[in-house]
């Protein structure tokens, strides 16, 4: 800001401001004949003196607005055939010129563009911050931006939202937007587009591309694909680069907090530094921020560190960073040596490629080894305790339960609990188990008990059971030699179905609401001979929930079983689709046989 601008912002004369600069109350920078005051410095000074300051001429200004800042503005547009391109997301990042690096030249103020497919185009420009601000003003005023003859439509709320995006290197889901600057947190001003249509369009594209991320979207510097709710927005991110802080843990039981700043600037901040081990806060300190390194001795091992920096004048947190320390790194190495040789087998018209020598090795780099024995043991205890606690938490709301083989009765009780449905109306229940009644339940008391209870518990509803033909359940796994003979295998299959039917019928009258169907995938080559199971997973679907089950019922007593609630409804869709297929038609790719 110029002296005049500061004077205007605080409602005082220029002489007043100049006097404060002269007395070094207010830090200013001289460029030739001109004197500039960084905006955040003006704010600090005004607040310290109790002066009311009004800075926001344009609502998009952050407290880091400065004439020496450069910006990169990236506009991602979406163009649907025949329509004008519209803003999908715009991000303006700005920072101090000298942080760009020794090879950065003056911003050229030229737009470059790239088409990313799916109707998406990305435009970017490097320019002084004030130039980008004027573009934002135009957008807010006219609702559009002209780039190389393209008019891009913006539909933005006039009032922006201001917040901070911090650095957070922890691999956790559901984090708030992270700062688009690697070494700094960011003050954000964001204009929202509240149209659902654009959000849905963007989500549609995201589901189309799935894992294949859009090449070139990296230039945005912000993981927009993880924040689809922000479709159509315009975001201004100012790097909080007055001071630069970093925290590092060396393997010598020290924590090193480093600050790069001018002496005058750093006095206005203080920081909190913390470290924890197995969730125990083993270190937390508030320190004044001073340029250079501050080293802290630690008494225990640590696995998580972080710091937060606060502006003293207004208490604003201007930087925050947290990270987990890596304790173990598995590295896979494949050394490929020698030439690739191609072998032709002319008889079978086959080509084989072989590499002469391949060495594979896995190295486990354990960084935990320098921890003391006590720390290591505590970590092991903590990890085992954490697993148990998480299991308990999940069990409490019946989202997860694990039963050992000797807990068969408890598993059955839990399973029956899952079958209980609050609704008085007749509902549909799907149960998928490839091995359903493959063993003779009439000879197994435990299984007989389970099936009886299962049928009883679902009597008011309709129970649809999906299974695989008994002959073969998994791809490539042939149960018996006779299954290769089409005639005998069909006969055997019929016999199996009959046996299954009899087993279910033996539980009448409580099985009258039960329907069982088997599903098998017929291969194209040898439709009558080869077949494979259609599904492998075991699951239970009630109107209220979808539960994956790790073992078939017949294996619970032998191997134990785990139930886990999943929120995706993928199995429900699959079960409904399979049940909708025509039964008994040998011409279909999936052969569905009605057992009962």
């Amino acid at each position: 800001m110029t002296v005049a601008e500061v004077a205007q912002a605080v409602g005082r004369t220029e002489t007043f401001v100049r006097q404060h600069i002269h007395r070094k109350h207010l830090v200013a920078r001289k460029e030739g004949r001109n004197v500039y005051i960084p905006q955040n410095e003006a704010v600090r000074w005004a607040r310290k003196r109790g002066l009311k300051i009004e800075l926001l001429k344009g609502a998009h200004a952050t407290s880091f607005s400065d004439k020496n800042r450069v910006a990169r503005m990236v506009v991602v547009t979406l163009e649907v055939a025949g329509a004008q391109p519209k803003n999908l997301f715009t991000l303006i990042r700005h920072r101090r010129m000298h942080t760009l690096g020794p090879w950065a030249s003056k911003p050229d103020e030229t737009w470059i563009s790239e088409k990313l497919g799916h109707g998406i185009c990305i435009f970017s420009i490097d320019a002084p911050q004030h130039y980008c601000q004027s573009l934002v003003d135009n957008i807010l005023y006219g609702g559009s931006l002209k780039i190389e003859g393209n008019e891009i439509l913006f539909s933005l709320e006039s009032t922006p939202r201001g917040y901070w995006a911090y650095r957070d290197q922890r691999p956790i889901r559901g984090k708030p937007p992270v700062s688009p600057f690697k070494n700094y947190s960011a003050e954000i001003v964001e204009y929202w587009n509240l149209s659902h249509q654009l959000q849905e369009e963007w989500q549609g594209i995201l589901s189309e591309i799935r894992d294949n991320s859009l090449q070139g979207i990296g230039r945005l510097g912000f993981s927009f694909d993880r924040h689809s709710e922000r479709a159509g927005n315009l975001m201004i991110a100012a790097a909080a680069d007055t001071i630069k802080c970093s925290l590092a843990s060396n393997h010598n039981n020290t924590l090193n907090f480093h600050v790069d700043a001018d002496e005058a600037q750093s006095l206005d901040y203080q920081a909190t530094v913390w470290a924890s081990h197995c969730n125990d806060q083993v270190f937390r300190k508030v320190i004044p921020v001073a340029p250079g390194s501050t080293t802290f001795d630690l008494k225990t091992d640590i696995d998580h560190i972080g710091f937060a920096v606060y502006r003293e004048i207004d208490g604003q947190c201007t930087d925050l960073n947290e990270m987990y320390l890596i304790k173990e790194v598995p590295i896979n190495m494949t050394l490929v040596g020698g030439p690739n040789l191609e072998i032709h087998n002319y008889r079978d018209n086959l080509k084989h490629q072989s590499n002469v020598s391949v060495i594979q090795s896995t190295i486990n780099v354990n960084l935990d080894r320098e921890a003391t024995a006590l720390d290591r043991t505590i970590r092991q205890h903590w990890l085992s305790g954490r697993a148990w606690n998480r299991e308990c938490e999940l069990s409490r709301d019946r989202s997860y339960a694990r039963f050992q083989p000797d807990q068969f009765d408890k598993a059955v009780e839990f399973f029956l609990g899952l079958l209980y449905i609050h609704s008085e109306q007749k509902e549909l229940i799907y149960f998928a188990d490839p091995y359903f009644m493959h063993t003779d339940i009439r000879k197994d008391r435990k299984l007989m008990y389970l099936y009886k209870r299962m049928f009883e518990a679902t009597q008011r509803h309709e129970l649809r059971i999906l299974c695989a033909p008994r002959r073969k359940v998994r791809e490539g796994q042939i149960k018996s030699v006779e299954s290769l003979d089409p005639v005998s295998s069909h006969a055997q299959e019929r016999a199996n179905r009959k046996r299954q039917r009899k087993m279910v019928e033996s539980l009448n009258p409580i099985s009258s609401h039960v329907q069982v169907r088997s599903f098998q995938l017929l291969t194209d080559n040898d439709r009558n001979r080869e077949s494979t199971g259609v599904f492998h997973d075991r699951y239970l679907i009630t109107p209220e929930q979808e539960i994956i089950i790790t073992h078939s019922i017949s294996g619970w007593a032998k191997n134990g079983v785990t139930f886990a609630k999943i929120p995706y409804n993928v199995y429900r869709d699959e079960a409904e689709w399979l049940w909708s297929l025509e039964t008994g038609n040998q011409e279909n790719r999936i052969l569905v046989n009605k057992i009962i």
Partner: protein, 713 residues
């Protein structure tokens, strides 16, 4: 199992001819049946009706069944069968006869034919062998495909062919290296026998054999048997295979074997340093003191180049290119830090000889052939040989030298541009090949530009690369690759300073200082975004040493660098160290020395402020600081550094670190006369761990002596 101990056989004379037929058909790689399986069908077909059953049973009894279910010839019958085959095929020259011979012991065959057959019979026999080999090479059946595949795959496929093309790699010499290292034993054993028999029976046919039998692996074995025949008698033999009009493979094999012989002589020379002469198993006919092995090896190289020079100039240029690439594979050094002397000599001889072509290098298109031999598409670092050539001809044809240098720069430029999109440049300053490569590019820059503005030259390249903070945040891989390329350009520019000085050109010291400053600035910036520490790289040290040598750094400049400290501890150590070396070398006056001392003290105090007690640094950074304190003899800081190092787990310490720590403690002890109680136990522990007995490696002798003197005080 019953053992047949009968020394001979009881076959009637008219049935002897059946033996070679059985073994010929059975051992042929073109049929799928074993000799045992063919006994009955062949006896039924060729023996008289009256005794075919008896003969069949007799021959079958020569085999025994092994636990894999197959029948193998009893060991006691091998000689009998070999003799019967040799007797039977005397008149025969068909494929079956040759297959039968392929099964036998070559030594026995050679002895037998030499003493029983006349030259005409031997001649036609060798011709027949060559003919069978030719057929099999054409059908690509000489390599044993089973050795390329797992058993599982092999079960599913039979009659496999291994294409000839798959053996070839870049250039003929590299192909033969590949054959030697990976493929020689993949030739079917019967073929190795046939090649041995043919070559040893008629060594004079070697060149014609190589020309006619078109397969690198077979040709390799032919040359191998030529060499085993003569290596202990005439180590210069392969040189004589090089003649005008000789086929490329013969020349390639000659080069390969000549260079291998040089390597062999060098191995003997190395043995002479370790063993008494009588215990050495000599690999050539050369014997000291009668022969000077070193001179003989050197002469082989000069003569090889001289023989090649007799060929067509274009061919000569190509072979020289190939040899220069191939040499590094033959004379592989024990460590990668220093170029082996033999490579230096070979490169010198090759380039000097080629440089004699002078103007014709460009005029007659010899440079293009040389480049083809170097195969730059595979190893662009070989441009160093072209730059060396330019340097060699600069006095005779300066314009051509400048033109060639420009070409080198362009190839290099392209190579670096490619590296930006393919994961970054792989270059390591500690490897001699990479150092020579950079030096060559620097030479090219010095030769092609009269007065290059080096800082501007580097800046121009760096400004167009993705090296800004935006790039670091948006595409880290691209940024990282650009950083490697930037380091390369800095090294080239700094190297050019050295080369210009060597060539007697002027160097602007201010420019040198600015160049180094720009590199440190660059590394300081990149260090904020990459996980490695660029301020500890080889490049920063090189820059510091160049500045100290050629930059005439002023005291103000030096103190400013230490105050800002963008250069880091490694560069500062190098700067101080090189200043001391230079002063010692040039012999400063007393006043100058005193003044230098004062500046060094000031530098040390400023650096000590950055260091503090050193606990904030990573282990790698700390070790460079420690070395700085040793150079500056700062005992207090050395003590801090030792304490800080000891805070790290023991696993962090390798031998070099232990030695460094011991040196620090020795410095502290020698200055203070005692050690802090926390440090007091460490010298004994480290000393006994480093040197448990009186043995000290050559590289550590001086250190040990110095440490002992310091700790004894």
């Amino acid at each position: 199992m019953s053992i047949d101990i009968k020394p001979s056989h009881s076959l009637p004379d008219d049935a002897k001819h059946l033996v070679w037929r059985i073994f010929g058909a059975g051992e042929s790689l073109l049929t799928n049946r074993t000799s045992y399986e063919l006994v009955k069908p062949i006896t039924n077909k060729h023996a008289s009706d009256t005794n075919k059953h008896r003969i069949g049973s007799e021959i079958c009894s020569w085999f025994e069944k092994h636990h894999d279910g197959l029948h193998y010839l009893r060991e006691q019958k091998i000689e009998v069968v070999t003799d019967l085959i040799l007797e039977g095929i005397r008149e025969e020259r068909g494929d079956t006869a040759i297959w039968a011979i392929s099964w036998t012991d070559p030594e026995r065959v050679i002895r037998h034919t030499h003493s029983n057959w006349d030259p005409g019979e031997i001649e036609s026999f060798v011709e027949a062998i060559i003919s069978v080999l030719q057929d099999c090479c054409d059908q690509e059946r000489v390599l044993d495909a089973a050795r390329f595949l797992s058993f599982e795959t092999l079960e599913k496929i039979e009659n496999l062919k291994v294409p000839k093309d798959s053996v070839a790699v870049n250039g003929l010499l590299k192909t033969y290296l590949n054959v030697h290292r990976n493929l020689r034993f993949r030739l079917h054993r019967p073929f190795i026998h046939l090649v041995e028999i043919a070559i040893r029976l008629q060594p004079g046919k070697f060149e014609s054999f190589v020309e006619r039998v078109d397969h690198p692996v077979v040709r390799y074995w032919a040359a191998h048997f030529m060499m085993t025949e003569s290596q202990n008698a005439d180590h210069r033999k392969p040189l004589r295979w090089i003649k005008k009009g000789a086929c490329d493979d013969v020349i390639a094999l000659s080069i390969v074997h000549t260079l291998n012989t040089v390597y062999t002589i060098d191995t003997d020379l190395a043995s002479m340093e370790r063993l008494p002469l009588e215990k050495i198993l000599w690999r050539t006919e050369l014997r000291p003191p009668r022969d000077n092995l070193d001179t003989a090896a050197a002469k082989l190289i000069t003569d090889l180049v001289a023989y090649l020079k007799l060929l067509d100039p274009k061919l000569f240029a190509r072979w020289i290119g190939e040899i220069l690439v191939y040499a590094t594979s033959v004379f592989h050094p024990q460590n990668n830090s220093e170029a082996p002397n033999r490579i230096k000599q070979l490169e010198q001889v090759c380039i000097a000889s080629f440089a004699q072509s002078g103007k014709r290098i460009i005029l007659d298109g010899l440079l293009a052939e040389f480049r083809a031999g170097l195969n730059l598409s595979v190893g662009a670092k070989c441009t160093r040989h072209i730059a060396k050539l330019a340097s060699e001809i600069r006095d005779v044809v300066p314009m051509d030298a400048a033109k060639i240098s420009q070409e080198v720069l362009e190839i290099n430029e392209q190579h670096i541009a490619n590296s930006l999109t393919s994961g970054g440049l792989h270059s390591n300053w500690s490897r001699w090949e990479d150092r020579l490569w950079i030096e060559a590019i620097s030479t090219a820059l010095a030769l092609s530009h009269e007065r290059p503005d080096l800082l501007h030259w580097v800046a121009k390249k760096c400004q167009v690369m993705p090296l800004t903070v935006w790039d670091a945040e948006e595409d880290f891989e691209e940024f990282s690759a650009a950083h490697k390329a930037a380091l390369h350009w800095f090294l080239v520019a700094l190297g050019t300073v050295q080369i210009r000085k060597r060539l007697g050109h002027e160097v602007d010291p201010i420019e040198v200082c600015k160049l180094a400053e720009a590199l440190w600035d660059h590394c300081h910036f990149v260090g904020m975004y990459v996980p490695v520490a660029p301020e500890l790289s080889d490049e920063v040290e090189f820059a510091a040493r160049i500045v100290a040598e050629y930059g005439a750094p002023s005291d103000t400049w030096l103190l400013r660098q230490v105050r800002d400290f963008k250069l880091g501890p490694r560069a500062l150590r190098a700067l101080v160290d090189q200043r001391i070396l230079k002063r010692e070398r040039e012999g400063a006056t007393h006043i100058h020395a005193e003044y230098d001392e004062e500046i060094t003290t000031e530098v040390a105090h400023l650096a000590a402020e950055h260091f503090g007690e050193g606990v904030q640094f990573s282990f790698g950074t700390l070790s460079w600081w420690a070395q700085l304190w040793l150079v500056l003899s700062m005992s207090r800081q050395a003590e801090y550094a030792a304490r800080a190092m000891l805070r790290f787990p023991r696993d962090f310490f390798d031998r070099r670190d232990m030695l460094l720590l011991l040196k620090l403690l020795a410095l502290v002890y020698s200055e203070k006369g005692k050690l802090d109680p926390l440090l007091a136990d460490h010298p004994t522990r480290l000393y006994s761990k480093l040197w448990p007995d009186s043995y000290t490696s050559e590289g550590e002798r001086e250190d040990r002596k110095h440490i002992e003197e310091s700790l004894m005080r």
